[in-house]
């Protein structure tokens, strides 16, 4: 079942159509039959009444008058012709008659088949068929229902007839009028079912829309106030799940934040004391030891940062996406990494297209670029250059970090993204986590990552270009 709504609509409307359709058909044919019978009875009644009228009229005459009347009749003088009437448009009646008059006819014959009194239509005269009972006749154009009666006392035959198409039209119309109500009812019911099903499912659709329109990190409970009882349980369960998920992510977020604080503060303390020691020491050996402590703290800080970043990435505890001001972000990056660049004698050059904005996870983007710049600064020898270039082309935003470091040989380029992998023969200190974090972040942010030849490279220092593309 793909959609409960279409299922209900289809089945309810289908069911109603079948039931009401059957009822309508039955009603139609039944009505026709009843009306047919009524007409048949009327035919018989007409024939009988005419015969009796004629008989009583002849019986009251003297034999001579009877003879004369009969002669008049056989000469056709009593044959009636329907009057030529005119009717207003769309009307079947007038004070003088009815359109259907010439479609109801009768004829009398004497025992020899001589036509006596009759009312014929303009086109037809009934044939003399001395068979009593119901029957049918056909003229050039039409079928006629007939009823024939024989009066033995006066020796006459009477046939009353009704044109078939007229009777069909009448019975059909009467029966149809009965059915019409059912058909209109059917349409109204179908419409009502459609509306009721749509309205009934509206709250379900609204909740479904609430869920699908969500951003991945948005874990606020669903609005259950409109949820009908049938899905209230489901919505409540879903809200419970969301709450537990939010709680877990919140704990995770708090944990990494706390861990960051708990680790960074003592590291900061050690570093400050070591640098004080370096400043206060009188002899070179102590100063050197102090510098080593500072180096150790720096390495440890970096590993702590990277592990926390990885743990945050794996827990998915990322803030929701929002528009990130890339100029502001780059400003922070330059501020954070400027001292390192100065210290290492490297020119850090940053260029951002004006008005740059990208909808993304701000912190993820920041950590990604920071890792790339940090790597570039770390591996580029003194006097080198590191460029960060952020620009937009037809495909979307492109962020490139280029350096004048030793580069990465082609065959090693895939391997460096694995965790704790460090290339052989490297003097620079590092945990081997930087690029694996970068790759994980790029995946999470929906960016494409590529290692290319640095435009700043020389044969001695080939350099590396790391390209991050956000395809829009």
């Amino acid at each position: 079942m793909k959609s409960i709504r279409s299922f209900l609509r289809r089945n309810l409307i289908g069911g109603v159509v079948i039931v009401l359709g059957t009822a309508a058909a039955w009603s139609y044919f039944d009505s026709r039959e009843q009306i047919d019978e009524l007409f048949d009875a009327e035919l018989a009644q007409n024939a009988r009444m005419l015969g009796r009228l004629y008989q009583s009229r002849l019986a009251s005459l003297t034999p001579a008058a009877r003879q004369e009347t009969l002669q008049q009749m056989t000469s056709g003088q009593f044959s009636l012709r329907p009057p030529s009437l005119s009717f207003a448009d769309g009307h079947e009646k007038s004070p003088l008659g009815h359109v259907y008059e010439d479609k109801l006819i009768f004829q009398m014959w004497d025992a020899l088949g001589q036509p006596l009194l009759g009312l014929s239509s303009r086109s037809v005269v009934l044939d003399y068929l001395p068979v009593p009972g119901y029957g049918r006749q056909r003229d050039n154009h039409h079928d006629w229902f007939t009823f024939t009666l024989y009066f033995p006392e006066s020796g006459i035959w009477v046939t009353a007839a009704q044109r078939e198409d007229v009777r069909d039209e009448l019975t059909g119309q009467i029966a149809l009028h009965n059915v019409l109500a059912l058909v209109v009812g059917l349409l109204v019911i179908a419409l009502l079912i459609g509306v009721a099903v749509s309205r009934g499912f509206r709250p379900v659709l609204r909740i479904s829309h609430q869920i699908t329109a969500r951003q991945p990190g948005y874990l606020e409970p669903l609005d259950a106030s409109e949820a009908p009882d049938e899905i209230r349980g489901m919505v409540d369960a879903l809200n419970g799940l969301l709450a537990r998920l939010a709680d877990t992510l919140d704990k995770e977020r708090r944990f990494t934040a706390n861990a960051a604080h708990e680790l960074r503060t003592p590291l900061a303390g050690i570093k400050v004391h070591a640098q004080n020691l370096e400043a206060d020491a009188r002899d070179e050996a102590s100063r050197r030891s102090a510098r080593m402590i500072v180096d150790g703290v720096n390495r440890m800080t970096r590993v702590v940062e990277q592990l926390l970043t990885l743990s945050r990435l794996e827990s998915g505890a990322e803030a929701p996406r929002r528009p990130v001001d890339l100029a502001q972000l780059t400003h922070e990056l330059a501020r954070d990494l400027g001292p390192m660049a100065r210290q290492r004698g490297i020119m850090l050059h940053v260029e951002v297209a004006p008005g740059a904005q990208l909808v993304s996870h701000e912190n993820g983007l920041y950590v990604l670029l920071r890792n790339l710049l940090d790597n570039a600064l770390r591996y580029t020898p003194e006097g080198g250059e590191v460029h960060l270039d952020i620009r937009r082309d037809d495909a979307g935003w492109r962020m490139e970090v280029a350096d004048t470091g030793p580069g990465i040989p082609l065959r090693e380029r895939e391997r460096v993204f694995e965790r704790f992998v460090r290339l052989a023969g490297q003097k620079t200190q590092g945990s081997g986590l930087g690029l694996s974090i970068v790759r994980e972040l790029a995946e999470r942010l929906g960016a494409e990552l590529a290692l290319k030849e640095s435009p700043l490279g020389t044969p001695q220092a080939p350099g590396l270009l790391v390209q991050v593309r956000f395809l829009s």
Binding site: A260, H261, K271, V272, N276, A279, A319, L329, E362
Partner: protein, 220 residues
């Protein structure tokens, strides 16, 4: 220059305190956020170094409380939060600068000096009064380009007066600035420093405001 340090961690607090004093700043070190407002009300400081992760109050709460009270002194926050939005929020809440732990002490000192200089309306890298120039980082003073040797307290006094060019300070306030509250000093110590400064730069460099104290003068 006088620094109020608010840091609950004894390891870090002691280290920073030592650094700042070695760099010639006079410091007060608070371990709780609750006393910050009262301390600032009681005596003037040039800059506040505020740790965000305090045990009693969130550093940002302390900061916004100060700013609501109309406190304008420059504030540098120390944060262990590596989330970029947390840091920027600190700036939005009224901090003038921030450092992420762990930091280089040289950077801390340079940022504090820059903050105080900017706050005093001196945009360039050094403090100036006519032909007199003070290089805060190098702790050297030149008069018309030639270096003048100054004692440590003389330098501090001159720097302090240059950072607050239009204010008048009582003798006690200057003692507090130079030696802190626990300074157990001779009662005429300020007069001695002022005398030395006048001898080296001319009598106009420090003005005596009768019955009140001293303020920065002019050099011609």
């Amino acid at each position: 220059m006088r620094v109020l340090l608010v840091e609950d961690d004894p390891l870090l607090g002691e280290g920073v305190n030592h650094t700042l004093r070695r760099e010639g700043m006079s410091t007060e070190w608070l371990k709780e956020g609750a006393n910050v407002a009262a301390t600032l009300k009681h005596s003037p400081f040039d800059v506040l170094v505020l740790d965000l992760g305090l045990p009693d109050l969130d550093g940002l709460q302390v900061l916004s409380h100060l700013r609501r009270q109309g406190q304008t002194l420059p504030v540098l926050i120390l944060t262990a939060r590596d989330d970029i939005s947390d840091r920027v929020r600190g700036l939005d809440d009224g901090a003038d600068d921030y450092l992420v732990k762990p930091f280089d002490i040289a950077e801390l000192v340079a940022r504090l000096r820059a903050l105080v200089r900017r706050h005093a309306g001196q945009a360039s890298g050094c403090l100036q009064l006519g032909p007199l120039r003070i290089d805060q980082a190098g702790r050297t003073v030149t008069l018309s380009g030639s270096e003048v040797a100054l004692g440590r307290r003389e330098f501090d006094l001159l720097e302090f007066l240059l950072l607050h060019p239009s204010r008048v300070f009582s003798r006690d306030q200057l003692v507090e600035q130079l030696y802190g509250w626990d300074g157990d000093v001779e009662s005429n110590v300020i007069e001695v420093h002022v005398h030395h400064l006048r001898r080296k730069f001319g009598t106009g460099v420090v003005k005596t405001v009768r019955g009140v104290g001293y303020r920065l003068g002019e050099l011609t």
